[in-house]
Amino acid sequence: MSKKIVQIPLGSQHISLLEPVKFKFSCENEKIIDVDSDVGFVHRGIERACTTKFKYDKIAYVVARVCGLCAITHSLTYTMSAESLLEGEVSMKAKYLRVLMVELDRIHSHMLCLSHVSENAGYEALFMQIMGDREPIMNLQEKISGNRVQFDYIDIGGVNRDISLSVEDDIKVSLKELRGKIEDLINEFENNYTLSLRFKGIGALSLKEAQEFNALGPIARAAGLVTDVRSESNDLPYSEIGFKIVTSSGGDIYARNMVRLHEILNSITMCENIVSGIPEGEIKTKFKGKPNGEALFRLEAPRGELMYYVKGSSKPMLDRLRIKTPTFASIPAFVEIFKGQEYANAPAILASFDPCMSCTAK
């Protein structure tokens, strides 16, 4: 076999991609030796729009459009950072409802990622199965917020809709069913021989590399790096509802899948605890004043740490809004993982990062 170097493009349009991103692999007999990336295909200038076109109380709806999957985390992070610059207190009930939506969002986002990983490993049947199992969660979100995707549920002061008793029962039933399905999936991901050929030991990121490249979220936790913003902040009642950090070791695709699957189980437990213990109270409280000063907020989005920086000076328009999305920070880590892998594994590795390009380019 020759030592010729071949340039293989992956993107900006490719079957295995959900969103436009371009990787250019330099390969030697399908072995990747160098990677070049381009992520700016979907830049929409949201940061500028938020400081010139929209008032501070509408931005929660604007930033929800940054990303379809983690819309709720974006609007929640913005809302919490804006609330910290205003006068008022969010009721406990609103906080519980917010966490409920965020965790449901995490469940369905992780399931999308898992299905996508298995599809890119050539396992279409599992893709269809996980996507089918994900549907009840989307329905739950629709029942709670009124929409399947763009929830527009969180607003400054609290949440927009109350939860009814029948919806609470639906949540309990659906989550109980889902738990069994997820346990089956764990079994399938562990024991399917062909999947283990594609996943075990492939695309590994060591703990040292994870620290060096500041990997985030499930990627970092799969490499054994103990970090989760849910336990790094006390603004949301995570400690009361049974949150546990899930970590693994090895950092390969298999470990990432396992972290995601066990996080789904943890999220199901949390949602069940929330539904059985929602405190009484108002869903929305009035906030006074205009944002003044600087605030920096972090929240664990399904893909990792999401950061908002807000600066205001008592005017309806903000001075600056900075969104740092999880995928954006992880791209150097992605590029590092790709080196030395087979091109045949590249789509599965890419899907296992769960990249979100519209988040990245915003």
Binding site: G45, L296, R298, M307, Y309, D319, R320
Partner: protein, 118 residues
Amino acid sequence: MKINKIEVTLQNVVEKITKFYDPTTTHFLTLNGVAIDETKTEIQWIFADYMKLNDNTVFYVVVDQEDVVPSIVEVIPSAIMSQREVVDMFGIEVQNSAKGLYLDEDSLQKPLSGGCTL
């Protein structure tokens, strides 16, 4: 969340960050720019600790449009993306950082800087 702000200068920023940054306990979040007025921009290096409650550290420096911001890629490889973003968005030169992460040739240049008029 609480912010510890530390003012630095363009000369000592790399040195201070090198001293502060320990990859096993801290991670780099992002390089952020805030337009102060038409020519001045505040550049912030934002860090957070692993598994510590509400702990964020921000190094900041106010720069002019012509200043060259030193690169910290040597210390923190993952800073390369946010450095390129700041170059695009604020039109500030960062050492060894290429242009054109998001913006094309024909798009509005440095859209987030104070001098930008739409």
